[in-house]
């Protein structure tokens, strides 16, 4: 059986809304328009305007309202049309949501999900292509999830909605239409994935490739190519950037002794940098080669198709870096 990421997300929200009357959806165009990317399709019709709220284009205002509703015990699922626009509301995500439980010593918890497409889409230019994984994942009090497959999308979104803490849920527009095999278990309405646990997507013994979101697909393709050349790559899908599953990453590197990290976002202070630091801290003596990093180019996203391609990690970059890690040239 197969399912698209879009349907996985849609069904996850649908099921959680049906299970818990405190769950509601808000955001720009999520209702009548069915969602700019149709993730919330059918929800308005099914649950009515008391559960599905179209907001004006005022991220600070509606995010603040969402967080306030969560203070009072509701479970909002707030859509950002893209995470680029979350910058307008970031103070509420950080100062009003992430820190409240701590500042109030546990009085005010904030069961809210902020979700939407994150990172680069295709041809949308510098202001619409940023990846916010590292920013949000740097903040204690937040949980940051990054699904890759349909199973990830369903299992993690359902877990996020049920979670009593604020969750930043970073999707990828280019994955919405992709189909993935899905198990019966994952289709069950009780299905949930554990927050904070990475998934080993492919086992291997020569090199560990750690990544998340769309790049998991690229890493898997790179692993296939590497296999053709006799290199056995283990691919780790982080699923959760915060909490970060340091144990799984380090266990894998202790086995393979080689690490390649991959992300689409800007490199400096990124997710890759943290993974490198974590492995150097915990498994330094196991490392047989420098940690390799493949990331978005250190420039704003250009529009032109050829430049855009150069600005984003490609499968061959992952292959090349993996070979370097294994001291194989060409």
């Amino acid at each position: 059986k197969e399912m698209t990421v879009r349907d996985a997300l849609n069904s996850a929200i649908d099921e959680e809304m049906s299970a818990d009357p405190k769950v509601f959806v808000m955001g720009e165009e999520v209702g009548q328009y069915q969602g700019a990317y149709k993730i919330t399709k059918g929800l308005l019709e099914k649950y009515g305007p008391e559960r599905v709220y179209d907001t004006p284009i005022t991220e600070a205002g509606f995010t603040g309202i969402g967080v306030g509703a969560a203070y009072a015990g509701l479970k909002p699922v707030v859509e950002f049309m893209t995470f680029n626009f979350s910058m307008q509301a970031i103070d509420h995500i950080i100062n009003s949501a992430a820190k409240s439980n701590y500042m109030s010593a546990g009085q005010i918890n904030v069961p809210i999900v902020f979700r939407g497409p994150n990172g680069a889409a295709a041809g949308v230019g510098a202001q619409h292509s940023q990846c916010y994984a590292a920013w949000y994942a740097s903040v204690p009090g937040l949980k940051v999830l990054t699904p890759y497959s349909a199973e990830d999308a369903r299992g993690l979104l359902k877990a996020a909605i049920r979670d009593p803490d604020p969750v930043v849920f970073l999707e990828n527009e280019l994955l919405y239409g992709e189909s993935f095999p899905i198990s019966e278990e994952a289709l069950d309405s009780s299905f949930c994935l554990p927050i904070g646990k990475a998934k080993i997507e492919r086992e291997g013994k020569d090199v560990t490739i750690v990544t998340f979101s769309k790049m998991v697909g690229f890493a898997l393709k790179a692993a296939e190519k590497l296999a053709e050349e006799g290199i056995s790559a283990e691919v780790i899908n982080l699923r959760s950037i915060r909490p970060l599953d340091r144990a799984t990453i380090n266990a894998s590197v202790r086995k393979t002794s080689r690490l390649v990290t991959v992300e689409e976002g800007f490199p400096q202070h990124g997710v890759c940098a943290e993974i490198c630091a974590s492995v150097v801290e915990e498994s330094f003596s196991y490392l047989d080669a420098p940690v390799e990093r493949i990331a978005g180019a250190d420039v704003p996203m250009p529009y032109a198709a050829n430049l855009e391609r150069l600005a984003l990690p490609q499968i061959e970059d992952i292959v090349r870096a993996s070979k370097r890690a294994c001291y194989r040239s060409k």
Binding site: P56, T58, I65, V67, L74, H92, Y102, S104, P243
Partner: protein, 363 residues
Amino acid sequence: TDTTPITIETSLPFTAHLCDPPSRSVESSSQELLDFFRTMALMRRMEIAADSLYKAKLIRGFCHLYDGQEAVAIGMEAAITKKDAIITAYRDHCIFLGRGGSLYEIFSELMGRQAGCSKGKGGSMHFYKKESSFYGGHGIVGAQVPLGCGIAFAQKYNKEEAVTFALYGDGAANQGQLFEALNISALWDLPAILVCENNHYGMGTAEWRASKSSSYYKRGDYVPGLKVDGMDAFAVKQACKFAKQHALEKGPIILEMDTYRYHGHSMSDPGSTYRTRDEISGVRQERDPIERIKKLVLSHDLATEKELKDMEKEIRKEVDDAIAKAKDCPMPEPSELFTNVYVKGYGTESFGPDRKEVKASLP
């Protein structure tokens, strides 16, 4: 307790925007008058004590005092129930007290002790009392307004027949998120009451230097508003009653409370470089909210000067006792560093500055 009804006239008429103002005659009782006096005097004394504790370096960081503005906290509380929610900025000690918080919790929090209302983790700006619908205590100017509208959203969602009061300053009144939240609240008929505590200064900036229009009760444009003498607890009470009714029936409304802070903005501000001492003493003499109530108490023969003096002595002792007790209260346990980061930490690791030395598994 003597609950003989008394009717009190507000000092000034209300000025209304897009609504009919409520009557100037406010229903009260002898008991309420005496309560107002006592609680406001307690608030005043508490803030003065916090000032001293700050100067004695027992309170750190920011500390924003409320003396001068007590009538707003008192009048609002008298009009509503604990199911109605309140949210405010960093100037939050007296609101917390009004919602039923204790002096001991307050002083403990101010000094960063275990018994603090936020177990010492929040500090002066971050008091909460969720059980009586007080949602803090927020440090980012303006942020509490959408948050308050969100609480109102939840009240409506849950069909609670309750409202939320979101308090903000004249400085905060220019914040864009306030206009965003107001538009949404109006579209969705949220029972949100935006209370602008206009104390005429945002830190060191006089209102007219920061706001092209300082008619804050009209700044909601299409949202009704009421200008209220915020130094008159009964005017505040009447306005809040009116606003609650309005909010339940028709959605958001703005209340502008004309008030004044006696202290500087926070402890590092002497509060006298951007306004004259004459201005401050003029307000103290002519508009002091406690003096106004005191006069009413006396003119209605509810207590003698001597009885009120005794009450004030009692209050002073109450405050001193709470401070002494709070000083004896220990600081938080070191392990508290890692609690409350999450409700559900899934046992993941968290780190102190040297992660090879200090690590915790989050509960």
